[in-house]
């Protein structure tokens, strides 16, 4: 009678925790003593993906550094909802300066730590996609090319949500924002625009670049840990759904963060010194409609007369990612 080796833990690595796993192998978020770096009482909207992503990432970084961590925050939702006078939700030393300078401020903090011989204290900078891919891009690129010892985390919710859902360079094609109305010949945001900053980060050949999604906690935490094990400039781009800005139900935040990956629209990968070293392989591939359907920002594509050609273009973007990053394993 053949026997098989048992390595099955009911929910494997997909759920936050798993009582069947040894405690040392569980996620940071499963820990009763996790740091809750972003504490309760913050004013993020219901179901905010950014609030979740920030706690996931910072808690992991706190664990990786034994709480020797300083955070620099760009202006944006995360900053506004976490630190309205007289209350802050942050549990670690944290500074907010401006919208476009988080990476540079972090460079300064890191320089101070180095000159003071406190290299055990690590520095992260964080901001939304506007503060990262647009207004803060110069400082980000500067921090990258100098290889400053900073982990920059971009919480990408694909638009300027804090100011009322305007388009950013991370807004995807066809999405409706308040500056890309769903009217005219090409409703919503145009095709052939925007930028994918992880790829640009890789072009700087910095030690570490990774993408993550709040729906893949263990992957996200592993990437933060990997990032914190390295010195120099590191970049983590986390996909964080915005229920308000996307016109999605608040309970669908993680579902959306999962579907965007399973469709291939958002590749999860990591790269070291400009070369891809790992990718998440799609587990249950789904067509892009399943992702689009849950969001009112795409409602003009669906409905009674679906914009078949536009949906096909979005599907083609997913296919290109799958091909480019090898998201289907051998099939790719």
């Amino acid at each position: 009678m053949e026997t098989q080796i048992i390595k099955f833990y009911q929910t494997g690595s997909f759920a936050v925790g798993n009582r069947l796993l040894d405690e040392s192998q569980r996620s940071v978020q499963a820990n009763m003593r996790r740091s809750n770096s972003l504490n309760s009482g913050h004013r993020a909207c219901q179901g905010c993906g950014e609030a979740l992503g920030a706690r996931y990432a910072i808690d992991a970084a706190m664990q990786a550094t034994s709480n020797q961590l300083i955070a620099v925050n760009a202006t944006g939702c995360l900053e506004v909802f976490s630190t309205p006078y007289p209350e802050t939700s942050w549990q670690l030393p944290w500074i907010h300066s401006l919208f476009g300078n988080a990476a540079a401020v972090a460079t300064g903090v890191a320089a101070a730590m180095r000159v003071k011989g406190r290299q055990d204290v690590r520095v992260i900078a964080q901001g939304g996609d506007g503060g990262t891919t647009d207004i803060g891009f110069g400082c980000l690129s500067g921090m990258f090319e100098r290889n400053d010892d900073v982990l920059y985390i971009c919480y990408d919710n694909e638009g300027y949500m804090n100011t009322g859902v305007q388009r950013s360079s991370a807004t995807p094609p066809a999405a409706r924002t308040s500056t890309t109305a769903a009217i005219g010949e090409e409703p919503g945001n145009g095709f052939g625009q925007g930028k994918f900053v992880p790829a640009i980060a890789m072009a700087h050949e910095i030690p570490y670049v990774a993408t993550a999604s709040v729906a893949y906690l263990r992957d996200l935490e592993a990437k933060v840990h990997r990032a914190m094990s390295l010195r120099g400039a590191r970049y983590l781009h986390i996909f964080v759904p915005c229920p308000l800005g996307w016109g999605a139900a608040s309970e669908d935040t993680i579902r959306l963060a999962r579907l965007v990956v399973e469709t291939g629209l958002f590749p999860l990968f990591e790269a070291e010194h400009g070369e891809v070293t790992g990718r998440y392989q799609i587990r249950h591939r789904v067509p892009v409609e399943e992702y689009l359907r849950l969001q009112k920002r795409y409602s003009h594509l669906l409905g009674k007369r679906p914009a078949v050609a536009t949906i096909a273009r979005i599907q083609a973007m997913a296919e290109r990612n799958i091909r480019r990053y090898g998201l289907l394993g051998e099939e790719a």
Partner: protein, 540 residues
Amino acid sequence: MDKLFAITLDVGSSLANKTGTWRTYRPVYVDRLPPCNNQCPAGENIQAWLYLAEEGRYEDAWRKIMEENPFPAIMGRVCYHTCESACNRGALDEAVGINGVERFLGDQAIKHEWRIEPGSPTGRRVLVVGAGPAGLSCAYHLARLGHAVTVLEGADKAGGMVRYSIPKYRMPREKLNQEIKRIADMGVEIRLSSPVSDLAAEMKKGRYDAAFVAVGAQLGRHLPLPSSGGVAVLDAVQILRDLEHEEAVPLRGRVIVYGGGNTAFDVARSAVRLGALESLVVYRRTREKMPAHRSEIREALEEGVTLRCLSTITEVGTGAVTIERMELDAKGRSQPTGEREMIPATTVVLALGQDTDLGLLTGVPGLRVENGLVQVDRNLATGATGIWAGGDIVPADRNATVAIGHGKKAARQIDAWLRGEVLRRPAKPELASADMMNTWYYSDAPRAIRPILEAVRRTSGFAEVVGDYDEGTALYEARRCMSCGNCFECDNCYGVCPDNAVIKLGPGERFEFNYDYCKGCGVCISECPCGAIRRVPEAI
């Protein structure tokens, strides 16, 4: 530190902002009814014992089964495990192998001689008539509740139809004997070869306070077939009983079994093992309509049993029987076509169902028998005060699992009645249906295949066909359980809350919501893998 006014803030200060006031819906933890539990005729809390088995706590898991069912080793073999058909995991990959895990746990208990202690004596005496699965189950539960139980059995061995109609290749006798012995060891008196002919007299004689009657349906149903007498026409029940007694059974040459139930296949498969030239099952309806369990049919075909569906036997000749072809009418019922055919036959075995012998109940006041079945209420009480009935003699599906459930139910009713109470049924929780769950989180894990004895080896003897799970496989299979509707502490709610409004209480203690901060976004509800959180509107 000399902090700047308003610009520099102290950590932890946001706790003053109780964001719970934003909420219009609140999440509430619930325990829903898993479909397996809902389906189990014996009322086992399958999800609960799988939960314990997942952690390798086999004895605890076994004890959880034993709260409902004293026969895990038997059930792990003969139960038709409709729980697995109901299992939500079936839609994801394949149903959890509940039956195999149960058998593993039952065998572990036998191996390690785990025991169940009887309850503290109440001084009340209960008579159980029939030592089949219903009677023994009732006796066991009554013993746990502290009652003195006497089981009277007409046959010379206990086990009822499990022993007398299920062949050894499906139910090894040492396992059966061990599980019965464990009940006897609790102080239950099992008197064999003690048929009861007059229940009222027996109760009076033994000064019993109550009785549970479960004598089973032991009479093979006959069909008057025109016969020339050249082919032996036998009764399936009798053949299986003879097999149990290891008496010579005339299943040789060309054996034709008439009927489509499990008993028919038990005989057909036994015939193969006894060296019959041919073993043919003739059934009047289609194969899909056969009442026999799918696995029983499949294994029989693998062993060389042949089927002839949509056929009736119209006449038994000499060396042959006449078969009439049937066809389905517009309503899907089988109708005779008049097309007949002779096929060679040495023996015909009738497996057309069983009837009861309820002579012992004659003259019991208030007790009603209709169509050979004792009429009972939903609590299995007969019309006669202090007398309950269950198993194959009451209107219900006839199988061991149902019988075991009857035994438990009757025992609990008898106990309440003896204490002068009315047993209140707890409200049945909402069913945990697949649409309440988020199955993304369960790792892809195809069902572990239970080793099956090679067909050649199993047709040459009565060795057990379906093998055991080894520990690793049993653990693997237990861990495939999705814990439908019941928190299994995956920490998802604790992790996915953007407001840290879930408090983790520690291993085995589950979680609590901190409604001071919960904004009611519902992410915990959609990401709970097993559907153990309900959304409840706030009264505003």
